[in-house]
């Protein structure tokens, strides 16, 4: 694999390969010394045009456990506006010798533009409203391990709840869950759905809560109120929040997932530590193994993962 830009480009076979590879990485992470020399001599540049400490730390840790060298280039979107074009920024950093860029940008599509301007591999760590493929992979890996679904998600019912329209996590996960064989329902007010919807929808959480295997909550941002997309946060929680009453209706085996950071009292109106099916911290843990798998798949051809340090 040259790049990881979207789930659609990866495809079902690519997902299966990466999820199997993630099992190996999880094994590495359970060792007393969780570090292998697989990517020694490779340089990974984290280039974040938008703050995301969590995703950056996760990629940084993943790269270091594979012995890659890492660089971090953090810029606010404002400096793009100060004169240096995106192309100049990328070409400058690439000139320092970079095998793979991990790129986060507030604008959709930047990984595709950037891959026209450099020969380095591009790993999309989130572009605008568009895609966040490593999040989708870690979510699939979390479901696969928590529910013992190594053979795929056939028949699994997953509800994605919240601001689908503005969510890169939702776009990647809709594609990923369906490629794995799951039935996906989108639960959101019409104002928070994209103009054309690619999956069945439900009008509120009560319509689906009794019958789902995975409840995937998205972060609800307060500025959506000022854009006339929802009247109040109170009304949003009443229709779409996971309240104690709704939590009691979840099936015994049902998982509750969230990409973080959570808005407690809004979409997460219960204490998740009291939810037996909550796997939110496992998502974070699995993120490192998944990102190791992605980096190894892209940069590690010809090296032996099993070599002990």
């Amino acid at each position: 694999m040259k790049h990881l830009r979207s789930i659609a480009e990866l495809g079902a076979d690519g997902m299966a390969r990466l999820l199997d590879l993630t099992d190996h990485m999880a094994e590495v992470n359970r060792r007393p010394n969780p570090k292998v020399p697989a990517l020694r001599g490779k340089t990974v540049c984290m280039i974040f045009f938008e703050d995301s400490t969590r995703t950056r730390l996760s990629f940084d840790t993943a790269a270091k456990r594979l012995s890659a060298d890492t660089m971090t280039f953090s810029v606010g979107t404002s400096s793009v506006n100060k004169g240096e074009s995106l192309r100049d920024t990328i070409e400058t950093v690439a000139a320092m010798g970079v095998d793979a860029f991990v790129i986060r940008h507030g604008s959709s599509g930047t990984p595709w533009q950037v891959s026209n301007w450099t020969n380095s591999s591009i790993i999309n760590a989130g572009d605008g409203w568009h895609e966040h493929p490593t999040q989708a992979l870690l979510d699939c890996y979390t479901i696969r391990t928590a529910l013992g679904r190594t053979g795929g998600f056939d028949g699994l019912r997953i509800a994605i709840v919240g601001d689908i329209k503005h969510s890169r996590v939702a776009r990647s996960n809709i594609d990923a869950f369906r490629l794995m064989g799951a039935e996906v329902t989108l639960v959101a007010p019409r104002t928070l759905l994209p103009p054309v919807v690619s999956a069945p929808t439900a009008a509120d959480l009560d319509d689906v809560i009794d019958d789902i295997d995975v409840l995937y909550l998205l972060r609800m941002q307060r500025e959506r109120m000022t854009e006339a997309l929802v009247p109040t946060m109170r009304e949003y929680t009443a229709r779409f929040g996971l309240t104690p009453q709704r939590a009691r209706r979840l099936g015994k085996h049902a998982l509750v997932m969230h990409p973080g950071p959570m808005n407690r009292g809004v979409e997460m109106a219960v204490d998740p530590s009291e939810l037996p099916g909550a796997v939110i911290t496992q998502q974070v843990t699995n993120g490192i193994a998944v990102r190791m798998a992605v980096l190894f798949d892209i940069l590690g051809s010809g090296t032996d993962l099993e070599v002990q340090p």
Binding site: V80, N81, S85, L86, R87, D88, H105, G106, S107, S108, G109, T110, W112, Q113, D127, G128, W129, H130, E131, R168, R171, P194, P195, V196, V197, S198
Partner: protein, 428 residues
């Protein structure tokens, strides 16, 4: 200077016939068979296999000067226009400073005269600074010869101001032109609102933002009796609204751009900023409606919306990159490749119909006959070609038609009797 155009198909609003055209000074002096061109100093332009027609008139070009000379100057824009077969272009007023005063308008004309490649007709602003707050001095600008007024780039949002501007225009013999876009509905918009933008995670640019203003301005024109010209229509419903208004006798005219009759929103699949344009590329049904609107005369004119941008401004993320694409040098090739219409109707939409809308009908888009001004275009309607960006006359390179087969290319352009383009090459 004496110029003889030989062996072409002479095509104008009076019909078509194979004939030679003899020009002396800035005037056509004879049209007929086997005209004598062997006098001393006669420049002979071979037009065999070509159409000889009145020069093209573009109602909609961004020349960028004053203010953004790094993207285009009046000279480079006029050269691009001449290469594209235009003898007159209307320069949009979103310059810096904006064309809202006589001094800026006169500056634009002076630069164009110095270039001597085509007539550049500055459009005036409807409101001061195109800010939509206060009427520009319409009568003062009209007295200085400005005939077309628009805030293009912005629609006039305030319905009261637009009504007043239309009423005020009635006694001035001018035409107001609207960029139809309700700005509140397109904040942050990047591409047409539909399946593609949903999949690509890009903010949608809804058709309704255009159609609401098309509807409003048709009704304001109906109310006031003032002429309104609607710029760069892009949606099926806009075309329907104009068709119905014309049937009612409302004094509305409309234009469409070559890219809106040839490209669709899925061109943005690879996130190429060259395809970002305002109004955006839309659906195949919209493209079909634009073509049908041109075919039945609902849309009067083909206008390029030539919008040069430097590479550094276009090499930004899609939501930061400015909208706009080049048009002057490719318009004919795109139109002939995509429109299934009689050649006369296509030339009408490129020449005498826009000349009338811009108030240039006394000197552009004239019949080709003795005594008429010699503003003429000679083009080969059948030649296939591809754009080579590095060879464009425009200072910018943001054409969406790279590696796209085009059909029909300008061979010679004669401006005021002067062959400013010969065999496709600008002469100054």
């Amino acid at each position: 200077m004496t110029v003889l155009i030989t062996g072409g198909l002479v095509l104008d609003q009076t019909g078509e016939r194979t004939a030679d055209v003899l020009i002396d000074g800035s005037v056509v002096v004879a049209v007929g068979e086997d005209l004598d061109g062997d006098g001393q100093g006669v420049t002979v332009l071979d037009a065999a296999g070509c159409v000889v027609c009145p020069g093209f008139v573009d109602l909609h070009a961004h020349m960028r000067e004053p203010g953004h000379e790094e993207a285009e100057t009046i000279e480079t824009g006029a050269r691009a226009a001449a290469v594209g077969g235009y003898t007159a272009v209307v320069a949009m007023p979103n310059t810096d400073p904006a064309q809202d005063s006589v001094s800026v308008v006169e500056f634009v004309r002076r630069q164009a005269l110095a270039a001597g490649l085509c007539e550049v007709v500055p459009a005036g602003c409807i409101t001061v600074g195109r800010l939509g707050q206060q009427l520009a001095p319409l009568a003062e600008l009209a007295a200085a010869g400005v005939t077309l007024f628009t805030d293009d780039g912005n629609g006039v949002q305030d319905p009261l101001l637009m009504r007043r501007a239309l009423e005020y225009s009635l006694d001035l013999g001018i035409t107001l032109a609207q960029h139809c876009e309700v700005a509140r509905l397109t904040e942050g918009a990047v591409m047409h609102e539909g399946e593609c933008c949903s999949r690509l995670g890009l903010p949608g640019w809804p058709s309704i933002a255009e159609e609401l203003m098309v509807h409003r301005d048709i009704e304001l024109s109906r109310l006031t009796g003032a002429r309104i010209h609607l710029l760069h229509l892009s949606t099926e419903r806009s075309v329907e609204l104009v068709r119905a208004a014309k049937a009612d006798g409302v004094a509305v005219t409309a234009e469409a751009a070559p890219h809106h009759l040839s490209l669709t929103d899925d061109a943005l699949d690879g996130y190429g900023t060259v395809y970002k344009v305002n109004p955006p590329l839309r659906r195949p049904s919209d493209v079909a409606a634009i073509r049908a609107g041109l075919a039945d005369g609902t849309i009067d004119a083909i206008a390029t919306d030539h919008a040069p941008h430097t590479p550094q401004t276009k090499e930004q993320p899609l939501d930061h990159a400015p909208p706009g694409m080049l048009g002057l040098e490719t318009a004919l090739g795109v139109v002939l490749a995509h429109l299934d219409m009689p050649l006369t109707d296509i030339v009408a939409a490129l020449s005498w119909k826009p000349a009338a809308i811009a108030g240039l009908g006394d000197r552009h888009g004239r019949p080709i006959a003795a005594g008429e001004p010699a503003n003429l275009t000679v083009f080969d309607p059948d030649v296939q070609w591809e754009v080579q960006p590095a060879r464009l006359s425009s200072r910018s390179r943001n054409t969406p038609y790279v590696a796209t087969p085009l059909r029909g290319r300008v061979r010679h352009t004669v401006f005021n009797g002067d062959p400013v383009v010969l065999d496709g090459a600008p002469q100054r």
